[in-house]
């Protein structure tokens, strides 16, 4: 590959307000209504809000053009490590949006929701099975909220046993930023422990960190370093013997689905990112869905509502059924429509399909790693198996050519690939965290590897080209400093 295959997809698009003309209306949705005379004048608005005044076609054209400025799974290979950007089957979306499901009010009686509740109940059961847990609550609305629920349950467990002093949460250095942020939100204190040179948690450091104040440990396995925590059984024993519980961050569940279950590894609580492992959409940054699963000890503390079954009827279990629950995390039951999509996905895959997810995700990652290493790239953990993702370190390229991981990432965009995750995990200098997922074909993996090789050559011959990338996108590199200093967060009409 010698030149980028990807050309600028679309020209920049005006801000919607710049299409406005006073008095233009998109659609006459209703007969003209006068201002309600029976509302107290002092509670009424005196001016109209700044909303666009455009025709329906102008709106459709504007937003369609905006969509064309995006990279997405549907249009580009998107190997964003730790985010599991796999294909989102169209059937999941269309079946979740069937008119009856879309129109169902969350407070409609159970008698008018048996079909929906059946899906939710079966989803809970399937998630229990694939994680090896005893109970599942579907309410958390994103991974980070699942984490909050998980740590809150651990704290509730200790409090219920009278262990008021246990408020330390142990987090490895490699953890996602959400782990420490969550511990803080739960009123806990943080203890960071290092990862060893092979990527595994430093077990000696863990032994020294646990004690009578330990509430628990938050772990991702395989870790964010792209390797499986081999001494997990020992880790679990150390934490349990110290009286703490183990929290499983499900960010990387895709790597082990059907191969090994968090419950069998000794974890007491897990959150799953349904938008990763179970292929619900990422939607430009949400909705996520962070269902939680728990072992026996934490069953009484699950967030409500949960779906229960009595005979052939389904019903909500609430605070009356789960009196020690940590409570409610959303106004209703979380991202129900996302849960329906995950349900459809799991039913389509079935038990054989679950196992295939981990197998082919791992095959793709190890294949790319082998090819990139053969091409001379440096793996952060060359002696380890890749999980479903792996890390390259571009320390050498930065030192020799002044071309950073960010420069590589930006240049990849010119070649028509979404960049891998850069500068995470923070432990590895100049890193690219690459996660191909199981839904990518061999020829696309090869094309990405070829692009990396081509960029490496450019870094040697014409580093400026890489350092100033991207060149073929709707905009070039943006001034982040200006964005943060001269805050322009809302559009204002020209004076």
């Amino acid at each position: 590959m010698t030149s980028p295959s990807h050309k600028r997809v679309a020209a920049p698009e005006k801000v919607i307000f710049e299409h406005s003309r006073p008095g233009r209306i998109a659609l006459a949705q209703l007969p003209a209504a006068t201002r309600p005379a029976d509302l107290p004048q002092d509670l009424l608005r005196s001016d109209r809000p700044l909303l666009p005044e455009v025709s329906e076609l102008q709106a459709v054209r504007h937003f369609t053009r905006l969509s064309q400025l995006n990279f997405s799974i549907d249009t580009h290979f998107y190997p964003l490590g730790s985010c599991t950007m796999k294909y989102n089957p169209k059937a999941c979306n269309s079946l979740a949006l069937l008119p009856e499901f879309a129109a169902r009010h969350p407070l409609a009686p159970e008698s008018h929701g048996q079909g929906f509740l059946a899906c939710m109940y079966e989803l809970q059961e399937m998630l229990k099975e694939v994680t090896g847990m005893q109970g599942v609550s579907l309410t958390p609305m994103a991974g980070a909220q699942g984490e909050l629920a998980g740590v809150a349950m651990i704290m509730a467990y200790h409090r219920a046993r009278g262990s008021l002093e246990r408020n330390e949460v142990i987090v490895p250095q490699a953890a996602h930023g959400t782990n420490p942020a969550t511990a803080t939100m739960c009123g806990c204190e943080l203890r960071e422990i290092p990862n060893g040179p092979d990527g595994d948690v430093d077990v000696e450091a863990l032994r020294n960190a646990v004690g009578p104040r330990t509430a628990g440990i938050m772990l991702t396995n395989p870790s964010t370093l792209g390797v499986f925590e081999r001494r997990i059984v020992e880790v679990a024993r150390i934490v349990h013997e110290a009286g703490g519980l183990l929290y499983y961050d499900g960010a990387n569940l895709n790597a082990i689905l059907g191969k090994v279950r968090p419950g069998d590894m000794g974890f007491d609580v897990i959150h799953m990112n349904l938008h990763k492992t179970f292929s619900t959409p990422h939607g430009g940054g949400g909705p996520g869905s962070g269902a939680v699963g728990v072992g026996k000890r934490l069953l009484p503390f699950l967030p409500v509502p949960i779906v229960g079954r009595e005979g052939d009827r389904y019903r909500w279990l609430d605070e009356r059924d789960v009196p020690q629950s940590i409570g409610r995390l959303s106004a209703f039951m979380g991202n129900a429509g996302v849960l329906l999509r995950a349900y459809v996905y799991m039913r389509m895959l079935g038990r054989e399909g679950m196992t295939r997810v981990a197998e082919y995700a791992t095959l793709n990652a190890n294949y790319m790693l082998a090819r990139l290493m053969a091409a001379g790239f440096d793996a952060a953990y060359p002696r380890r198996r890749a999980s479903h993702e792996f890390i390259l370190t571009l320390k050498r390229q930065a030192r020799d050519h002044g071309v950073s991981a960010m420069d590589f990432a930006k240049r990849l965009l010119d070649y028509g690939f979404h960049a891998p995750t850069t500068y995470f995990p923070l432990l590895v200098p100049e890193c690219l965290l690459i996660e191909p997922t199981e839904t990518e074909a061999l020829e696309d993996l090869d094309a990405f590897v070829e692009a990396m090789i081509a960029i490496e050559r450019e870094a040697e011959d014409d580093p400026d080209k890489v350092q100033s990338a991207p060149h073929d996108l709707p905009v070039r590199r943006l001034d982040d400093v200006r964005a943060a200093k001269q805050l322009d967060l809302v559009w204002k009409p020209a004076a």
Partner: protein, 457 residues
């Protein structure tokens, strides 16, 4: 294999490149004793036709009853263009716009959204959305404690007229950091916050007062007086508002004399289907001086290397991936897809269209109340002015009546007894622009019939 493109020769070639004998060999770092046996609890896979059949059957079973519940989620007409565009793969299957140059569509969408929501609420800045209204209120409480440097008490006043489920969510999410939440009683006549409820707190260190407008009963609160009280006593005001209502009602940025400090609310009415409770989105706006205490993503406009205008995530140093344990929140995602739908919805309606939706919803609810209160045994519970929800009281417990209505295909409203022990005879009803005169007649006649046939218990 569903969704997996590999052929047999592909797999062999890939394993050769890796130097592994089988796919199973790639899992050799996992201790053998941990490996999973068959997943008996997951049924065998289905093809698209089979799962489609099941889902259609289940959907049909739930049906499409005539709905008169609001209580935090509102049935509005959604123009066809909204979801036709929002589900385009370029929006639907993209992620958080970390690579700004490859995400200008999502980023500009967020900037336009921020502009619309800031203006609708009368505030200076908006974030890119949060999970839902209830969790947005919890985040607003956490933010108030961070931003209000002078208040040391971390005491927050939650009126009883605030959505009772939201109050529970606030306690679950924000209750782990030692805050005190105190509830304020409502006036049994007007259905609004009692004016003397606040007098008890005069001169005390209160971090924030939460005001919901319209309140959970659909009644309009005296927001100006309440905001002035907070200002006099050095407390922040957090407004929880219905976005549709803001087409008509005074925006929180103008309440009292100087406006409120933080605004949040449930964004669902803006083009998001009811869908059993989610995914929805929460919105949050504030004054510029508090922008660094605001949780969630924020997009700013800047220039690229060539001096062209472009959009990027900004103020990221507040966030968990940089600040870790000291972040403003653990939140990563916004509700991008729902925010996208809302931006398209607000664009298609414009200010005039949104005002019509608000006015029509108000009018339908007034008509509904007029008709329902003519039924013997039914009366209007509260005297305060209302927007598009209201409370009726019956001459008997509400539950049996609602069950009987449901059997006849009418979701008659929310049984308030579950949340307010004094209101077991009361139902919270709502009619939006989607309800016709015929719908209202159907409800009224069926209720009259049910009240005749169901014995007063």
């Amino acid at each position: 294999m569903p969704f997996i493109p590999h052929t047999e020769p592909d797999v062999r070639a890939m394993l050769d490149t890796i130097g592994a004998r089988s796919i199973d060999a790639l899992f050799d770092e996992i201790p053998a004793e941990l490996k999973t046996r068959a997943l008996e609890g997951v049924p065998p896979g289905l093809n698209e036709m089979e799962i489609s059949r099941i889902m259609h059957e289940r959907a049909a079973r739930d049906g499409m009853p005539l709905n008169f519940i609001g209580a935090g989620a509102y049935e509005h007409h959604i123009p066809a263009a909204v979801w036709a565009i929002a589900t385009r793969g370029e929006f639907y299957s993209a992620y958080t716009p970390y690579q700004a140059e490859a995400s200008q569509g999502t980023l500009q969408m967020i900037y336009e959204y921020q502009t619309m929501i800031a203006s609708l609420t009368g505030m200076q800045v908006s974030n890119a959305s949060l999970y839902d209204g209830a969790s947005a209120l919890a985040e607003a409480c956490l933010m108030a404690v961070r931003a209000h440097r002078k208040s040391k008490s971390a005491r927050i006043l939650l009126p009883d007229t605030l959505n009772p489920i939201w109050r529970k969510v606030v306690r679950a999410i924000a209750g782990m950091q030692g805050f005190t939440f105190e509830e304020l009683p409502y006036d049994a006549g007007s259905g609004s916050l009692r004016s003397d409820s606040l007098a008890a707190y005069d001169g005390q260190d209160i971090t924030a007062l939460v005001i919901q407008q319209p309140n959970f009963f659909g009644v309009l609160e005296e927001v100006d007086d309440l905001t002035r009280w907070a200002r006099r006593n050095g407390a922040f005001v957090i407004a929880a508002v219905n976005p549709t209502s803001l087409a008509l009602l005074k925006p929180p940025g103008e309440w009292g004399d100087g406006g409120v400090d933080i605004v949040c609310g449930e964004g669902q009415p803006l083009g998001v289907p009811l869908s059993s409770g989610g995914p929805y989105f929460g919105f949050m706006t504030t004054r510029m001086e508090h922008v660094r205490q605001m949780p969630g993503r924020i997009v700013g406009r800047t220039l690229d290397l060539d001096g062209r205008s472009g959009f990027t995530l900004t103020l990221q140093a507040r966030e968990q991936h940089i600040r870790r344990g000291k972040a403003t929140s653990n939140i990563c995602t916004n509700q991008g897809l729902l925010m996208t739908a809302a931006t398209i919805y607000l664009t298609l309606l414009g200010a005039a269209g949104l005002e019509r939706v608000a006015a029509a919803s108000h009018a339908r609810t007034q008509e509904l109340m007029q008709d329902l209160t003519r039924v013997p045994g039914v009366r209007s519970r509260f005297t305060g002015p209302r927007f598009h929800e209201a409370v009726i009281s019956l001459d008997r417990p509400a539950k049996g009546v609602l069950d009987a209505l449901a059997e006849r295909g009418i979701i008659g409203g929310l049984d308030l007894g579950a949340h307010y022990p004094a209101l077991t005879d009361s139902i919270l009803v709502c009619a939006t622009e989607t309800k016709t005169a015929a719908d209202i007649k159907t409800y009224t006649e069926t209720l009259a019939d049910v009240l005749k046939s169901v014995r007063a218990a």
